[in-house]
Amino acid sequence: MTMPEMHTLTGAYAIDALSEVERAQFQRHLGECASCAQEVLELQMTATRLGAALAEDPPAELKRRVLAEAMATRQQPPKTRFETGERVKNRRRAPRWAIGAAAAAILGLAGSAVLGGIAYDNHTQLTAAREQAARYAPVTDVLSAADLRTGHGEASVGGGGTVMMSRSKDKLVFMAARLPENEPGRTYQAWLMFPGAAPKPAGLLSGGQDGALLVADGLAGAENFALSVEQAGGSPTGTPSKDVVMVLSMPT
């Protein structure tokens, strides 16, 4: 579908009048089209007025059930956002403690993998530790950058991962977390998405392996980092299939 055609779908999307396939396609388009996202939000807010006009008094019994179920339901932890490793300017949206906690978790993870490994003096373990250190070298490289940015994304298929990136080092590291195993003959493929230009493949990743790493460069101008499901060996067309499972926006 062409871009102008896509744009006419804002209305249908805003009120859930698209088929599942079209909805997924349009969502992908939304990640690249800020004006569409703005229009969608406005049209959803408009629809909300249509819906709110139907407000009725809910039965008291319903409230009791909702409160009881809520009290027995664990709340989701906050999603962390891309942030600089430097002091964060006052932002009205992201809860700051959440960012700190995420950064600490990443540092702790990489730190224990590298330093914890080397503490062993057994030769075999030392070798293993060296291999692990080599594996994590890009992580420590990016983590030491003054312009480190990190972000966590959740995949629609479950699991997700953490992006760590430095524009000065032109390097991005993605660490998978609980991404489900792929079906036979399929793989996850990472992409850098550019406004008004074709997405650039950024490496392959198998699901089911926690801490699987992927390193990419050539970040200049990239707006989003995305994961799609492709046939083994990566997308034959060089562009993502419709099966995009995660999109994270990069900081500007």
Binding site: G11, L18, L41, Q44, L50, A53, L54, V66, T73, K79
Partner: protein, 202 residues
Amino acid sequence: MDESASPRRMAPVPGDGEPAGPTAEDLLVLVAKGDERAFDALYDQLAGPVLGLVRRVLRDSAQSEEVTQEVMVELWRTATRYSPERGSALNWAMTLAHRRAVDRVRSARASSERELKATFEAARARPFDEVAEAVAARWERSQVRRCLTSLTELQRESVLLAYYQGYTYREVSEVLRTPHGTIKTRLRDGLIRLRDCLGVTA
């Protein structure tokens, strides 16, 4: 900021003297910290509109209450994920509610394709009359009603069939015997005209 972005201004009928308590957005911030009392108050603000919308789409009372319960518990569960980018708290809740109601209606409908045609025929003349009927003395409703009359008939029918009946634009085009492409654009044009009439800005 428009009315729907600020429940404090939208919820009460002008001049009804209802005290302005915390907004739904304020409450969500507290709910995100696990505040059960705030959730109780949030429920009071959002459950009415959510139930009204869900019931319009699903019709069945028991199912409507089930979906409303799902939506409210989901707000509790994911309160930490709310951000003003999603619009007002009411908008967040209603978008989720509509999606859930539509999901349910479509999975039920998939099993009874045969009845589809009949449902379509029956639905054809109804939606606007029902809204007109539902319009009571409330200012919000009369606003919406007034603005609905500013749409062309095809725009209004398209928007109401899709939103209140949970139809896809293809289904709407079937009911209205109008090409798909026309319905797509009428949905957008109609919503844009409504947006401008209601003064909605994000």
